[in-house]
Subunit: 463 residues, 2 copies
């Protein structure tokens, strides 16, 4: 199977393929709103039938919430097994009035397809489906396939999480292919080889029984807002590193190979400022931006509230103060639960150092504790990454970009562990696709590249 | 004039006096709500006529907003001149449904009079009026009187502030008597000999153009919430003192006399905790509670807001963070405007030390700056304080309590300066009077003490 061949097929079948995609996009499979449950189930059934029509076997796996679509193809026991993960649910289209066309009636315009889900994830999932169909027609599918498509990626992933261990045997494999990521610029292809994990918590300081008059009590009553500020500020060192004992333990430095690949797409301070409005002065300032994002954990304040925050002055000593904190974690660090304990213990210790008297009337409460997913890193020199990288270079004519992404996709790490398959995250999304926002769209050029990539990878999947 | 004589008169005239007070309380003189403007003016006219009926001369002084009632009595050029300040306006009665009786139809119950303004300030003002009436009847008023009653104390004092300099000559005097304070317990009388001043400001840190994804940008973008916490925490030293250079400059230590009087009503840590729920661990912890409240300035955070503060997590780097700060100031410190500049400069310096690069994209903005009144201290050994103290002791049979109050009554300091009169703050309010709240009331026993005090003080006002 060569690139020319695949491309010719795609261009010939383009109209049919896009018309089928438009059908898939017409389902209002909004998982977060239970009034769309029926539409979600109809969408899952449509997709399952579609897999069958393409020549795969397929079934629905029931969960306590929405069903999973499970499809498979047995090539031969010697061939590698590719596990594919995707999701058929979409974000709500709100605010509807901001859309230029109906979000559930896809429209082609200027080389783009506009619809909710056009990119995330129906569009990116569909080029994979069509590549499988093509290879089956050509008898060129050279791997076993196990496809698992969930319906709650946009709303917490309850269904898949609750049945993951039961379907362990159904998803054993070698490569976990996920087409739900993007590339920093259209001309080049990108492989995501790192994701950070995430833990979160809320810290509350309570003091006086009620807000106190700051004249009568100012300078006498301990002020929860001030205490919280001091407590939060004690969680970072002056150099921007996290001041939690043991936080960085176990983290390996990036390998020489990783560093080399990382620097194929450097980001300058000025480019960062252009993008965000600020210089990259957060976190461990002495380290390079891409190292910090991909290889270093963080502790960020996501929100604070205390006392009076309206217009003008209200002179009180507030009775409480609260902050939301989340940490992005990296491979090599302690397990998420241990890490969460570490952060909580440090906060408690710092608070107790400030107010050792148990009778102070001040209380520290740590609540809303969450460990929402583990970090993930894939060796960029492993065979499947190398192969993907070569294919991308062949398609685009440009060197492949390697991304150690700072964000988290919680299920991937778990899925990789349970299935035993090494993650391969390749996607063709672009910043301008407006995923999760009004007027979501997907470049049809990028859609085609996805089709080319999946076709070539699956036909050459032997190790 | 002796105590027995005054008391006998009061008991004989009690019903008439209270029925007149009830009339005064029936006016809905709510200054903050412009729809009550006519009621406010009617109340002022009624009060002015009432002063005339008592034997004083009286007029209304127009202001750009609500009129002042100005009444006077000339005793003799040799006699001291007492300037009296009070206010005829009241707080809104809301929430109305929480009242057990009509707030503008005063009701006597269990030795208390229930109505909006029963204590603050119509009740406390009215015992003074009735004492003057009594002394005039008895030809025992031994001082000149200049009475100024404003109608906007509860809503910012615009009227009096805008005409204060024009009426300078009308209010020249020796003693500025104000009956708008209270006593910590009913059995003893109290003289307030100190008030703190107040300045306020809002600090805002802005960073990224919008909230950023904390996965993609965490540990890279500077976080305004974290920066604000560090900045705020830099404004106090570890011992709780304010870390603003020059902040404490000029403050005199309390005199031996002040210390002696202060300790006539000590507050223990346990009593404080019982009252508020916390031990007094705020401010300069190495100093005594009453010293801190009465003689030391403070810097308090009144409120903070940044990022996401709802339920659960929203993993962002917030684009901005804001805090409200106010300082209580004391006598000897720099002028309010200078002090405000000092605090602002320190905040700017600390911020610039953290982020010296002008191109960082981070911005500090200090806004909503206010200097709302200067601190005030009266020498407790001055003749008028001594006299007031003796009279209170005579009435109550208990040692008089001296209060260096931490709160602020902005106009008093200005009024004292313009009139040249030394403040004398004596009031009979109690914590349980619920001023500014539903079911405001005034103990009729306390009302009588007010009558006794004013009668005795004004009859013995010669130096």
């Amino acid at each position: 199977m060569d690139l020319e061949q695949v491309k010719n097929y795609y261009l010939k079948e383009r109209e049919r393929i896009l018309s089928e995609l438009k059908q898939f996009l017409s389902f209002k499979s909004i998982s977060t709103n239970s009034s769309f449950k029926t539409e979600c189930i109809q969408c899952a059934k449509w997709l399952s039938s579609h897999f069958e029509a393409c020549g795969l076997e397929s079934t629905l796996i029931e969960t306590p919430t929405l069903p999973l679509v499970y499809s498979w193809y047995n090539c031969s026991p010697e061939a590698p097994t590719v596990v594919f993960y995707g999701h058929y649910d979409v974000q709500p289209p709100d605010p509807l009035e901001a859309w230029e066309s109906d979000p559930f009636c896809a429209v082609e315009k200027n080389g783009r397809l506009y619809a909710r889900g056009a990119q995330d994830n129906k569009g990116q999932l569909f080029y994979f489906v069509k590549a499988v169909e093509f290879l089956l027609k050509q008898k060129a599918l050279n791997c076993n396939l196990k496809i698992i498509i969930e319906g709650e990626e946009e709303s917490g992933g309850k269904g898949i999480t609750s049945v993951l261990n039961d379907i362990k045997d159904k998803i054993k494999g070698d490569v976990l292919l996920v087409c739900d990521t993007g590339t920093p610029y259209a001309e080049a292809g990108a492989v995501t080889v790192g994701l950070r994990g995430i833990i979160a918590l809320t810290v509350e300081i309570t003091g006086p029984r009620k807000d106190l008059h700051s004249g009568v009590h100012g300078g006498v009553a301990p002020n929860p807002a001030q205490i919280l500020c001091t407590l939060l500020s004690s969680l970072h060192n002056k150099d921007g590193s996290v001041a939690v004992t043991g936080f960085y333990e176990g983290i390996a430095e990036p390998t020489a190979e990783e560093l080399k690949l990382l620097n194929t797409f450097p980001v300058t301070d000025n480019l960062y400022k252009e993008l965000t409005g600020v210089l990259p002065l957060g976190g461990e300032r002495d380290k390079d931006l891409l190292i910090r994002r991909g290889f270093r954990p963080t502790l960020e304040i996501n929100g604070i509230t205390s006392g009076y925050t309206g217009q003008g002055m209200k002179t009180i000593v507030p009775h409480n103060a609260e902050a939301k904190i989340s940490c992005r974690t990296v491979v090599g660090q302690k397990k998420p639960e241990e890490l969460l304990n570490l952060v909580c213990s440090q906060i408690e210790k710092n608070f107790n150092d400030m107010f050792p008297n148990k009778e102070s009337g001040l209380h520290l409460r740590i609540k809303e504790k969450v460990t929402a997913g583990e970090a993930l890193k894939v060796n960029p020199t492993s065979w499947h990454i190398q192969k993907a990288s070569e294919i991308l270079k062949e398609i685009t004519g440009k060197e492949t970009i390697f991304i150690w992404e700072g964000a988290s996709i919680p299920i991937i790490s778990e899925l990789s562990k349970v299935s035993g398959a090494l993650p391969l995250l390749v996607g063709f999304g672009l910043e301008e696709d407006n995923i999760h926002a009004p007027n979501e769209s997907f470049s049809l050029e990028q859609f085609m590249k996805g089709f080319l990539f999946c076709s070539l990878f699956l036909s050459k999947a032997e190790k």
